[in-house]
Symmetry: C2
Subunit: 284 residues, 2 copies
């Protein structure tokens, strides 16, 4: 059905949709933005072609039908806390039971449901990283500090742990020190997990040095078009506060937002930031 | 070497050593207590035969040699936060490097190390549950409320998750709602994890009802003589505050402290408390 219209961006919260738009601007691509009310950054709502309520599916589908986009992409998070507010004023809610059901699962089930719905309506859905591949963590992450032997062991442990967790619709992040697991990320998110680790370490016995690694990657078999794990300058700051030695990102399975500033921040705070090949990758 | 001396109890923190001592008193068993300074309950330090610093291994071994106990048991936790204080005033520390190495692993590596050391000195080490089996979670946990179908699904998911985590020297607890993992327990402990879930749910969208299950069990292959997971009345309170529907405990792999009060508390707060057969049990 869609032929040669623009790229349509469904923009949630965070920097990802902002960076995607900047990239498409620079590349001279044709695109239009549907900003999610209550989620999208102000920089986006100011220039959005439409601002909609996340759950107003009918309106979103109607807009897309009129645009006839070649490609639709979902960029940015639509977290549950934000949804709380939305659902508070949910006069627009048509199918509460269905939404509750989707919400009983992991966060990205909601987004996978959205992708399926868009595809059923004839749209081609791609991930933001396919439109702007330079956002992906890849081997060129060249922080000044590099992981030592202990950190490499922690990275291996972390990847194995996330691998074991990947069939539970969770587990995109963990903090490991040596072979000791300090935290596994749940729905609270990476920043909150890092603050937990900071508290743990404050109690922990008289350690002054740095240690431990944040390992982040995608779930095995995760649809990378939805909710790909991402880090940015704030992740570096929280990791430093948690006393970590660095961050390891699944290669091609994680996004680095604001890359230049993120790397500068890592260098400033003496953390390493590297990408690592992950499990289950069958490279040719 | 040991012949027919008393049972020797190395008492850490919490209710377990207190209940063990009460049980042995009632049973008329011969026993003596070495209380760990800074960890053991005051009820125990008052009646202990010796009060020692946890890391003063030489003194502990000397006392045991003079007692010639038939059995030695380690009861109660010796958590890292407590160790922080101890290590602050660590003039008695003889082998800091060795201790640091042990501490780089999971908490129970320290205790496993202690068991090995005691055995090398000819002692027979058993778990507190072997001396007082009625402390174990078993099929007679008869809370008034029982798990429903959704909760049973959550319990299955939780057991599978803990199974997957059990080779990582962690993962004795998790909170699941339906098939969604709300939290995995790290070194912060069960109570702290439950408070995290309470915060998550406060954000979560307008849910008023109860849901979710705390699943606790031992690691597969865990030496049950050390650091067996336990619940008590406070666990029930924290679970209720986190909005959970109930608690499922690995049968024969978890301790229920203050059982009568724990069950009363569960009934009062409308939570279920059940034991469930766990993975890897090959019963005859």
């Amino acid at each position: 059905m869609p032929a040669e219209g623009p790229i349509a961006i469904l923009a949630g919260s965070g920097r990802l949709p902002v960076e995607l738009v900047e990239h498409l601007d620079r590349a001279g691509s044709q695109f239009r933005v549907i900003a999610m009310r209550g989620f999208a950054d102000r920089r986006l709502t100011r220039r959005a072609d439409a601002i909609v309520n996340l759950l107003d599916i009918g309106r979103i589908l109607g807009i897309l039908e009129s645009w006839r986009p070649t490609i639709v992409t979902l960029a940015g998070a639509v977290s549950r806390p934000g949804l709380a507010a939305l659902l508070g004023a949910s006069s627009f809610l048509r199918n509460r039971a269905e939404i509750q059901r989707v919400f009983a699962g992991g966060d990205d089930r909601l987004l996978r449901g959205a992708v399926r719905l868009l595809e059923e309506h004839g749209h081609r859905v791609v991930g933001a990283h396919e439109l702007a591949p330079q956002l992906l963590a890849c081997a060129d992450l060249d922080s000044r500090v590099r992981p030592g032997r202990q950190e490499e062991e922690a990275i291996r442990t972390g990847l194995a742990l996330l691998d074991a967790l990947s069939c539970f619709d969770m587990g995109q992040g963990a903090v490991i020190e040596g072979t000791r697991v300090l935290a596994v990320e749940g729905p609270e998110g990476t920043d909150s997990m890092l603050r937990r680790v900071a508290r743990l370490r404050r109690w922990s016995f008289g350690r002054r040095g740095r240690g431990g690694v944040l390992v982040k990657t995608s779930k095995k078999g995760q649809d990378l078009r939805v909710d790909m794990p991402a880090v940015g300058p704030r992740t570096i700051e929280e990791a430093a506060r948690a006393g970590l030695a660095g961050i390891a990102l699944g290669e091609g399975a994680t996004l680095v937002l604001d890359r230049a500033e993120t790397l500068r921040q890592a260098d400033r705070l003496n953390l390493f930031l590297v990408s690592v090949p992950t499990f289950g990758e069958d490279k040719p």
